[in-house]
């Protein structure tokens, strides 16, 4: 067992319970006599666990891992910890990549001509938000005054009119929120801390495949060439889930990306999942995104599908 690849293959057999007892005894003796063999065995164990968690094992190895390695509570606990650890690690590395991206840009970026279309879109979104916030503040003051009057002289008719007023305000607020979301779909968000015209991440709100936009066209995502991360917001209305899984398939090339354990953000009537996909995983083409929720029984249940087309290059003028 001198060749390291061959040795690691034997170690995997040991850990998966596929090695005869005599061979295991021989390897045990080497574990104690040779520190490097011991360290290598430990590394093989950690790699096996990580590959299981990341679903990189073959079907046969996975079955063997589950029936043999997971037969002790210590190993099951270790795999649970590894699952959380790798999820945290992937998040941390994604954050690091985003933070590192602006630093790599040189002084040339300072003199770069800004993208006016993007700036105008962002300014419009900010203006609308400011107007909406101002309107809400005015109406809040109005409601306070009326509440004060109602408290002083409560009458059934005044209470009723206040309730109607409140209901009306709520529905107006919901309309404004929906309008703002529609604007956001048309004008992808950028990180406000970055210089304009140079996003490291870009966000899109996807509609379910059951709902097409005007003219029944597929949703198009214009991803700038220097985008590092594509954040996809996936709203859905059916079912209650705490965690979700997203898988993306290129119509021609097959599966390109998958992530599980995503948090579900509950909302009034609509829940949302946000998936952060490396832009490199989405070259130009047509895609189908499948969103699945994890039930309380731990099973995956398909929630919805989202079709979209990725386009690359400079953002078109609007």
């Amino acid at each position: 067992m001198e060749n390291s690849a061959e040795q690691e293959k034997q170690m995997r057999r040991y850990l998966l319970g596929e090695m005869p007892e005599g061979e295991m005894d021989a390897l045990d003796a080497r574990l104690f006599a040779e520190p490097e063999v011991f360290d290598r065995m430990w590394g093989v164990e950690n790699d096996l666990i990580d590959n299981y968690v990341r679903d990189h094992l073959s079907r046969a190895e996975r079955a063997r891992f589950e029936s043999h390695y997971l037969s002790t509570p210590e190993h099951r606990g270790r795999v649970s910890t590894a699952r959380q650890f790798l999820r945290t690690l992937d998040e941390e590395n994604r954050k690091e990549a985003l933070e590192a991206a602006p630093k790599r840009r040189g002084i040339a970026e300072f003199f770069r001509i800004p993208n006016w279309g993007l700036t105008a879109g962002f300014a419009t979104a900010l203006l609308l938000t400011a107007l909406w916030a101002g309107k809400l503040l005015l109406e809040r003051d109005q409601l306070r005054n009326e509440l004060a009057l109602a408290t002083a002289k409560p009458t059934p008719s005044r209470d009723q009119s206040m309730e109607e007023l409140l209901a009306g305000e709520r529905s107006r607020n919901e309309e404004l929120i929906a309008e703002l979301e529609r604007l956001r779909v048309q004008k992808p968000e950028t990180s406000p801390s970055l210089p304009s015209g140079a996003p490291a991440s870009i966000t899109f709100l996807l509609s379910s495949s059951l709902v097409r936009n005007e003219g029944n066209r597929m949703q198009e995502l214009q991803i700038p060439p220097d985008a590092g991360l594509v954040r996809l917001k996936l709203p859905f209305t059916t079912g209650e889930y705490k965690k979700a899984q997203v898988s993306i398939r290129n119509v021609d090339a097959g599966p390109v990306w998958r992530q599980s354990g995503l948090n579900v953000q509950p909302g009034a009537g609509t829940s949302t999942v946000i998936a952060g996909v490396p832009a490199a995983k989405l070259p130009p083409g047509d895609y189908v995104l499948t969103l699945s929720g994890q039930t309380t029984a731990g099973e995956a249940e398909e929630i919805d599908r989202y079709s979209f087309r990725v386009l690359r290059g400079a953002r078109p003028a609007r």
């Binding site: 104690f32 029936s67 043999h68 509570p73 606990g77 270790r78």
Partner: protein
């Protein structure tokens, strides 16, 4: 006098016998402590890889038996090899215990299996975040880079990390594994505290 023998002839572990064991590992107390820790980890992992329940208790039982032999006046050319021999005996004895009979997960009878503490994923996640924060900065950096998922570049990434730290790849692997082990122990300890509070 070692004081290891109780009245009535029964041996028990005490400070004197432990110090004898440590000095047989190395005359320098600090290096002896490091070698003791290394042997203990080897033993724990041996029992763990053999799917023995309570591997730490078996490792401690092994060390206790070796200490007793040394206390009785035996000397060994290679303590590691002797520890392995004793560990094998402890392993074979443990196989006769009902909780160590290995069965597939689906077939494990509910009563015979050791009780598992139930905790939710959120609690484990909180413990993990807390334990990651407790790690020294360099250890945290090592473990996050070493286990980064990039199947094609994993070997290159690890080689680059080893070069950046100025250590060979083998030493990096050993260090990353020990940091990860510390992290796992911290999470287990944190979860136990959480369970005791409930």
């Amino acid at each position: 006098m070692d004081g290891a023998a109780k009245p009535g002839g029964e041996w028990s572990l005490n400070q004197g016998s432990l110090e004898k064991f440590l000095s047989s590992l190395d005359p320098d107390p600090e290096r002896a402590g490091e070698k003791y820790e290394a042997i203990r980890i080897q033993l724990i992992k041996f029992f763990d890889w053999r799917s023995v329940s309570f591997p730490e208790e078996c490792a401690d039982e092994t060390i206790t038996r070796v200490i007793r032999k040394i206390d009785d006046g035996e000397s060994f050319r290679d303590i590691s090899t002797y520890c392995f021999g004793v560990a094998r005996m402890v392993y074979l004895e443990s196989r006769k215990r009902p909780e160590n009979r290995r069965v597939p997960l689906d077939d494990a009878p509910q009563i015979a299996a050791p009780a598992e503490v139930e905790e939710d994923e959120d609690e484990r996640g909180h413990c993990l975040s807390h334990c990651l924060q407790e790690l020294p900065l360099e250890s945290r950096r090592i473990i996050l880079k070493y286990y980064e998922d990039d199947r094609r570049r994993k070997i290159d990434n690890r080689a680059e990390l080893a070069a950046a730290l100025g250590i060979p790849l083998n030493a990096l692997r050993s260090r990353a594994q020990r940091i990860r082990n510390k992290l796992e122990e911290c999470v287990v300890g944190c979860l136990k505290k959480g369970v005791r509070k409930k």
